[in-house]
Symmetry: C2
Subunit: 214 residues, 2 copies
């Protein structure tokens, strides 16, 4: 049940909502049922008014003098973002990083099932990783249609990222998570997210460099 | 040589500067020496005025009627961010993701040398990965001092992330890149960056869900 307001959730808010869900899910595993806004804010590295503002995009939450009900807040956030269902994904590029992601339990835990692994290397085709047989990238289109997949994950070397993206777009994929250190071009109706490790390392270097000079 | 203005570079700008460096380095590999602002902006998925605004934080760039000199612009950006030198890092948590990062060529290419790999699993200690012998995490402090390391990378399971962070802080590390899906607490003078895959997947789900409803 998504509220009409949620169509306008800004990008930075989505990023924080993902953190709130992570923290709330960890609290839930520890058996916490209710949490007040101050400790929740502290665990999320934000202030309590930021949380209230972010949650206001899709309704009223929190009970005065009580706090937030953990389970119901997780349900509301994931529902508003469209992540309260299974998303089927395929991965293109079975190198070290691709293998690590295929074995990463968190994807399935969060509802993102990797149901296909593709590579154009004949030495990798036929290999089984985490229960999936690696299939030739040329067969991506037929497999995506069979598997009802909506999201593609690219873990190829940078010089092969655009070709992988072309295969995914041709197969009718709606969104791409690109781990390759290269920009890719796709039609306007396909969404791309870049997982770029380096801006984090750049931010660390910058902060360390300048704090040291103080 | 960093300009005094660069102490105030906002976070979102650093993120874009990392993209500009990535795109410029790819152009340099292709032999491009000069690029005008429009094609550079297009390759970076921003508009030309955004690039000009971001670069203005640390000086005047671009030659009217010519464009940007690729090599000199890379040098200026990396210098302003403090990434124009080698950074020595250690990695804690030799699971699938840790192994993938130890084998990831891009870290070294970008000046981030992983010089130590640590794990508390006796079955992993002594194993050699990408030229590094896996060492017991209890020995982190002595090794970090020997190796002149400033940045720690955490790739442990979520429930071990805080302990890994404690070891890194105790060893005098100045910044942490945390890939574990858990928040960590560190003293105020230690910088933390989270590589969280899920906010990207959440953003994709959200965009796909709402564009489909249009």
């Amino acid at each position: 049940m998504t509220n009409i307001k949620s169509e306008h959730i800004p990008r930075a808010t989505i990023q924080r909502l993902a953190v709130y869900v992570q923290v709330l899910e960890n609290l839930q595993r520890e058996g916490v049922e209710v949490i007040s806004s101050e400790p929740l804010a502290k665990a999320c590295n934000v202030n309590a008014s930021q949380i209230r503002k972010d949650l206001a995009y899709f309704g009223e939450f929190g009970v005065r003098g009580v706090g937030y009900y953990v389970k119901s807040l997780i349900e509301s956030i994931t529902s508003a973002l469209g992540v309260n269902r299974e998303w089927r994904t395929v991965l293109v590029g079975v190198g070290n990083l691709g293998r690590a992601l295929l074995n990463h339990k968190e994807f399935k835990l969060r509802g993102f099932h990797i149901v296909g692994a593709f590579d154009c290397d004949p030495f990798k085709i036929g290999e089984e990783i985490s229960g999936l047989e690696v299939i030739c990238t040329k067969r991506l289109k037929e497999r995506v249609a069979d598997l009802n997949v909506e999201i593609g994950i690219i873990t190829t070397p940078p010089e092969r990222a655009q070709r992988a993206a072309n295969h995914l777009v041709d197969a009718g994929i709606k969104g791409i998570l690109n781990y390759a250190p290269a920009r890719i071009s796709v039609p306007d109706d396909v969404f791309v997210e870049y997982v770029d490790f380096f801006h984090h390392l750049y931010a660390l270097s910058f902060n360390i460099t300048f704090s040291r000079n103080k």
